[in-house]
């Protein structure tokens, strides 16, 4: 059959499925009414130039329906997301869904710019975030969102005050400071060349003073603006009775600075402003790299809470109102739309509804509930509109309990100390003592204050642990970068170091070692049947088992769905379908045991999931399904075993399944039938045996255990919560990435150690020279840069070694 592109979204469909319409004498095809509508709208508005800009990019069909517009104009929503500026304009931050290319950004901005009342609309293509400023007297927010939806995109608000924004702000701040430092360094270099050329070949005092004056001008902002970070760091260090590297940099730089001012004013001796500038700037580069590598140090709990609605629709005497969750009382009636999360525990008062409880139990199958069944917060409503009565306050509900447990365990999260910080602490203190001693001894023997001070400064400058400061950030930055290239996200650079120190690997089964997508492994045909009936049945069900069978059928038959059918889903049992007045059933063993069919059910293999298809008299076929193990799981586990890792598999699944999977992969130790808290307790127990644990998981049921482990690794396809509490995210969700992540961590750690050794060795060689007075501060500053370069080049070796 001929495939044709929809003229709006560019997805391909069979020709006879498309809506055909003649527009301006050309036949146009659309996959749905939504796309057709958008096409017409753009044509009318004169925006069809969009289609030239979009080129071949595929869009999403514009067939989404929403019915929540009124909620955008409610007071509770306004106070949470909308800010009013000094001109009386409203401002909101939105995330626009469905942006694929720059043409999409163009179209959205264009449409918004065209609407009256919108003052500003700017969309960030990289993050899909939009900032919109509008006049509330002319246009309402609901109208703005309707406009965005009318062209086939969706928008939802987000709280711009989240930690991520703050991290972004501090990144900008550091960048500004770095720019000032680099500017000063570049300019002071020219001046120093002149100054030192003069030093060796003779220069008039008046020229020298001019050069020194400009150097002073450049050094002042560098020391006090760029260097402010060190003063702050030194202050915090001192308050905690700890002499850190910041202190050393700050003292070295400011001593040089003030001595140089003295030399400049009295016109005696040389100034060393360029040393001040270079010390500050070079070490700042290292600091900046560190800030960069702190990829979204987002407060995980904030984000977890942000995924849950803060307001619910409460029905009061047939009036709907949005009430913030803290104010909902026991006995209130709450209405949920399809896809809404349950925030408060309660009991169902609608006839029935199905819920996704995967975030609580790890069980991926939807659960059907009847009137007056209890529903738990954290689950998601999958059916249409339902109502339930609240039985527990927000603070006592299951979900907020989980959050407070997480909060507690995150604050107690074990952190493996950072090697470089430990070393540099002692190092800084001893350097300071050495330079003070140098000053005293030189002053005592030579009697010249100036000479002794210069030598003491040289000691500080040459020992200034630039290389030491750069050693860790440089190596980790490259490690983090290499990881990102391979779809491994280290949330903080320090985790590379931590992962290398672990000795125990704990894995979740479902979704981590297996794909959580059952596939048909065996079929037992009892009788001929029309596969199209079964196809219609499973195609229209969201159950993972149905999906597995659907894929199997599509692979083996050419199929067509029936148009007229009545499908009914029976709680935890199966499906019932009526086609041409005939009934067919599909479901598990329990489902068929209730029917009058004689069959030896005990002969079926219990270790697989079973799906039976038949009618009321006979069984047609039996499908065996199995959760498939991820590719390469076995090889990767073997590699970890070679590294002497203790490997344990945890699962909430039954003993039989757990045993089978662990045997297949080659893991000796496993624990089955665990609840989320059991898993967390198990990690605690490992800690008591002083193990350092890597935990790999994907579901919300793993979140607690993840938050307790030393290094938590989440699958990118997993639940948001588990991704949020994790330290490392495997975006490709492949088990290979797990090994690469570990290898990367290990290589980086070795590299850091090499770098530290290199810079310490360098200092041990040069400090005695400085103490004896053979090195002037400028040479010290130059050689210090040299050692930094060495460290940088060494760090690039990680790249090579990981590519092998």
């Amino acid at each position: 059959m001929k495939k044709i592109e929809c003229d709006h979204c560019r997805l391909e469909f069979d020709k006879d499925l498309l809506i055909e319409e003649k527009i301006d004498g050309v036949n146009r095809y659309f996959c749905c009414k939504g796309c057709q509508g958008v096409y017409h709208l753009l044509k009318c508005e004169g925006l069809d130039e969009f289609y030239d800009r979009v080129k071949d990019t595929k869009l999403e069909p514009a067939n989404q329906k929403y019915d929540d517009l009124q909620s955008f104009d409610l007071e509770g929503f306004k106070s949470r997301y909308i800010k009013v500026d000094e001109n009386g304009f409203n401002t909101i931050s939105l995330i626009i869904e469905g942006i694929h290319c720059s043409a999409c950004v163009w179209l959205n901005e264009k449409v918004l710019h065209k609407s009256d009342g919108i003052i500003e609309a700017e969309i960030n293509f990289t993050t899909h975030k939009a900032k919109i400023v509008w006049d509330d007297e002319v246009i309402k927010l609901s109208q703005i969102i309707e406009k965005i939806r009318s062209i086939g995109y969706n928008a939802y608000p987000y709280d711009a005050s989240m930690q991520e924004e703050r991290a972004e702000k501090s990144r900008k701040d550091y960048y500004t400071r770095l720019l000032v430092g680099i500017f000063a360094t570049m300019n002071v270099m020219w001046l120093s060349i002149a100054q030192y050329a003069g030093y060796f070949s003779g220069i008039k005092q008046e020229y020298k003073s001019i050069l020194q004056f400009y150097e002073l001008l450049l050094a002042t902002p560098t020391l006090f603006f760029t260097g402010w970070i060190y003063f702050r760091g030194a202050y915090f260090g001192l308050r905690n009775r700890f002499i850190n590297m910041d202190f050393l940099v700050a003292t070295g730089a400011s001593l040089t600075y003030f001595y140089s001012i003295y030399a400049f004013l009295t016109k005696s001796g040389e100034t060393y402003f360029e040393s001040t500038i270079m010390i500050i700037t070079f070490v700042f580069v290292g600091k900046y790299l560190e800030v960069l590598s702190k990829r979204s140090a987002v407060d995980t709990i904030d984000q977890l809470k942000a995924t849950m609605p803060t307001e619910v629709m409460v029905i009061n005497d047939d009036k709907k109102s949005l009430i913030s969750v803290e104010n909902v009382k026991v006995g209130d009636i709450v209405e949920l739309r399809s896809g809404d999360s349950v925030v408060l525990d309660g009991e169902l008062i609608s006839q029935n509804g199905s819920f996704d409880e995967s975030s609580l139990s790890g069980e991926s199958l939807p659960i059907l509930k009847n009137r007056s069944d209890s529903i738990t917060s954290g689950s998601i409503n999958l059916d249409n509109l339902i109502r339930y009565r609240v039985t527990k306050l927000y603070n006592e509900s299951t979900f907020s309990n989980i959050i407070s447990l997480l909060e507690e365990s995150l604050s107690k999260k074990p952190h493996i100390e950072k090697l470089a910080n430990q070393i540099s602490g002692y190092f800084s203190l001893s350097i300071l003592l050495i330079s003070i001693a140098t000053f005293i001894v030189w002053f005592y023997f030579s009697g010249s204050f100036e000479k002794s001070l210069i030598i003491a400064i040289s000691v500080i400058v040459i020992a200034c642990p630039c290389a030491l400061g750069l050693a860790t950030p440089m190596a980790t930055l490259i490690g983090v970068g290499e990881g990102a290239k391979r779809g491994i996200l280290f949330k903080e650079a320090g985790y590379l170091e931590s992962i290398a120190k672990c000795d125990t690997l704990v894995l979740d089964k479902t979704g981590t070692l297996t794909q959580a997508k059952p596939v048909v492994v065996n079929v037992k045909n009892e009788k001929e049947f029309d596969p199209n009936i079964l196809y219609t049945m499973v195609k229209n069900s969201n159950h993972p088992i149905s999906k597995g069978i659907c894929i199997y059928l599509e692979d083996h038959y050419s199929l067509a769905e029936f148009e007229d059918y009545e499908l009914e889903e029976i709680k935890a049992r199966g499906l019932k379908i009526k086609i041409d007045n005939k009934r067919f059933f599909g479901g598990n063993i329990e489902f068929f045991k209730t029917k009058d069919i004689s069959y030896d059910y005990d002969s079926l293999d219990e270790n697989n999931s079973i799906f039976i298809f038949g009618d009321k008299d006979e069984i047609f076929a039996i499908f065996y399904l199995q959760d498939r193990i991820r590719d390469n799981a076995k090889e990767v586990i073997k590699k970890f075993q070679k590294e002497n890792f203790d490997i344990i598999m945890l699962t909430g699944d039954r003993e039989g399944v757990a045993k089978k999977v662990s045997k297949e992969i080659g893991i000796d130790k496993y624990k089955s039938s665990l609840t989320p808290t059991d898993k967390a307790d198990f990690i605690d127990k490992l800690h008591q045996d002083s193990k350092r644990v890597i935990m790999v998981g994907d579901g919300v049921n793993d979140a607690l255990a993840l938050s307790k482990s030393d290094i938590a690794i989440a699958m990118g396809s997993g639940a948001d919560v588990s991704i949020n509490v994790s330290d490392v995210v495997l975006l490709k969700s492949s088990i290979d990435s797990l090994w690469i992540a570990y290898k990367l961590g290990k290589k980086t750690f070795i590299n850091i150690k090499e770098n530290l050794a290199l810079s310490l060795l360098y200092n041990i060689l040069t400090i005695p020279l400085a103490v004896m007075g053979y090195v002037i501060p400028l040479v010290a500053a130059l050689s210090m840069s040299l050692s930094s370069l060495l460290v940088v080049f060494n760090a690039f070796r990680i790249k090579r070694s990981i590519n092998e």
Binding site: S102, H113, I118, I119, F125, T126, Y175, L179, F183, E206
Partner: protein
């Protein structure tokens, strides 16, 4: 070369450099480098049309502010 000329030359070149630095920092602070991808594709969208759009928005903003400030609630 007299010392005055030296002072002037270094002063002017440093000042010019400073202007560049300030412009860069201003661009950074006002968010012009926030969106890498848009920044890279800027040439595609930097046309008369978008300029007109921007001007219209400015105009609209001015008018709205004027209307708001001249508006006094009825007694």
């Amino acid at each position: 070369m007299s010392s005055n000329i030296l002072t002037m030359m270094i002063g002017i070149s440093t000042f010019l450099g400073l202007l560049g630095l300030l412009a860069l920092i201003w661009g950074l602070r006002s968010g012009q480098f926030d969106d890498q991808e848009k920044f890279l594709e800027a040439t595609k969208y930097d046309d008369v049309d978008s300029l007109r759009d921007a001007a219209n928005l400015e105009e609209r903003k001015r008018e709205t502010i004027k209307r708001k400030s001249s508006y006094s609630p009825p007694d």
